[in-house]
Symmetry: C2
Subunit: 253 residues, 2 copies
């Protein structure tokens, strides 16, 4: 497939590489950040274009991988194009593209860092399209990129995006708070890394409800009290501790 | 080394196997739960004894791996023994053993499930002892079990145990809450598993503060507002969302 890419950030970079590695052709990369655009274009042998108006009509697919609040404006400039246009956002309605001839969504559910290679074939791709023919094309190309392709409507996609805040951003914040506790007591974060890894590994096989351990699920009030006592001068952590312990108890009632 | 083990739960099981695999000898397993004791004793070729009073004096080390609130009572029955006695609890003072001749702590910082094999050589072992000679013996035996051995005093150990509640129990609860959101919207937990894995993988290499992504760290108020809106009929989740988003913002001020 011939593809044009709008954007040059983390998502754009990982998607572009995945297309190339799966035998597709990225003809053009379009980004106002010319340094990022050049870097990405070099990696996937694409031309750089400075503006959407310079997009070739030779591409089958135009991928919009820009910040959420810029999608609508970019899409406005793509009116009358024959290519299928998709955005890659978890939080944006497909309908922002509905003035286009053929459109859809290709949302990769993963946390991307430019410098961090990951196996794109294991990235869940959530797809949706404005018409059945575009859906089939999008499904075929997605299947060539990843083994995990899911039909997901806009509402479900928003829920996934929200769930990812819990399972990724908030989880990472708990790692940060743990590390703060360690730092204050001259302890190395390496001490927690194996536990963090195993906690994530466990739920690859079972559901998290079955995997729970610790004082809250045992209603071990002595330990809960001792932990809160250790946090007595840290009201923010005490509040988070109490809130999440209560949540564990509630889930396991 | 010749070892006796008191307890037959998750920690006892994993420690016993690690001792055996590292060439040590488990002579006896003591547990009031005779089924569990038999299961474990068979795995490590040990004798079962029904009561602490039947412990042989031939062992170099007695490992107490029972519930926290049972440690003191077990320890009382070990008075006048010449073996080094250690408990394995993260939340219990070493001093509960101070009436013994030689004593210490061997705290493995990991989440253990009986049915789940893990590489014990990668489990951080936090050790502490009542005298330098016992410490050296404990350090030597620990080094034979794991590549990660740390000198950790009682206060630090309690902080580690508390941090583990954040980095394991609370993290797992966030997985559970994510899964609940998915279930309500006919979405499969498989969709989140790669994200969960990658989130834990990232902090194996960098610190969590550097790994943070998502709307809260970008102060993307539009997305934060949209997420809270999706949770409007779920006050508990809304509260957790707000609390942890605020915490992210504060950590990155």
């Amino acid at each position: 497939m011939k593809v044009a890419l709008i954007g040059s950030g983390n998502v754009a970079t990982h998607i572009a590489k995945a297309f190339k590695e799966s035998g597709h052709q990225i003809l053009q990369v379009c980004s106002p950040n010319i340094d990022h655009a050049r870097e990405l274009a070099e990696q996937v042998n694409a031309d750089i274009i400075p503006h959407v108006s310079a997009l070739t009509s030779l591409v089958d697919l135009i991928v919009i991988a820009v910040k959420d609040d810029a999608i609508t404006e970019v899409a406005t400039q793509l009116k009358d194009r024959d290519s299928i246009v998709v955005h890659t956002s978890g939080a944006t309605d497909m309908e922002v593209l509905s003035h286009l001839k053929r459109y859809g969504v290709l949302y990769p559910l993963q946390t991307f860092t430019k410098t961090n290679d990951l196996d794109f074939s294991q990235v869940p791709l959530c797809i949706e399209a404005g018409d059945p023919e575009s859906y089939q094309i999008l499904k075929d190309v997605s299947t060539s990129l990843s083994t995990m392709v899911y039909a997901v409507n806009t509402m479900q996609r928003k829920i996934l995006h929200l769930s990812a805040a819990f399972a990724c951003n908030f989880v990472n914040q708990l790692y940060t708070l743990s590390n703060n506790l360690l730092l204050q007591n001259n302890l190395d974060f390496n001490l927690l890394r194996p536990l963090i890894k195993e906690t994530a590994e466990k739920v690859q096989r079972v559901l998290p409800l079955e995997a729970q351990t610790g004082p809250a699920i045992r209603s071990d009030e002595g330990t809960l009290e001792a932990h809160l006592q250790l946090l007595q001068h840290m009201p923010e952590l005490q509040h988070i501790y109490q809130t999440l312990s209560d949540s564990i108890k509630k889930s396991h009632q």
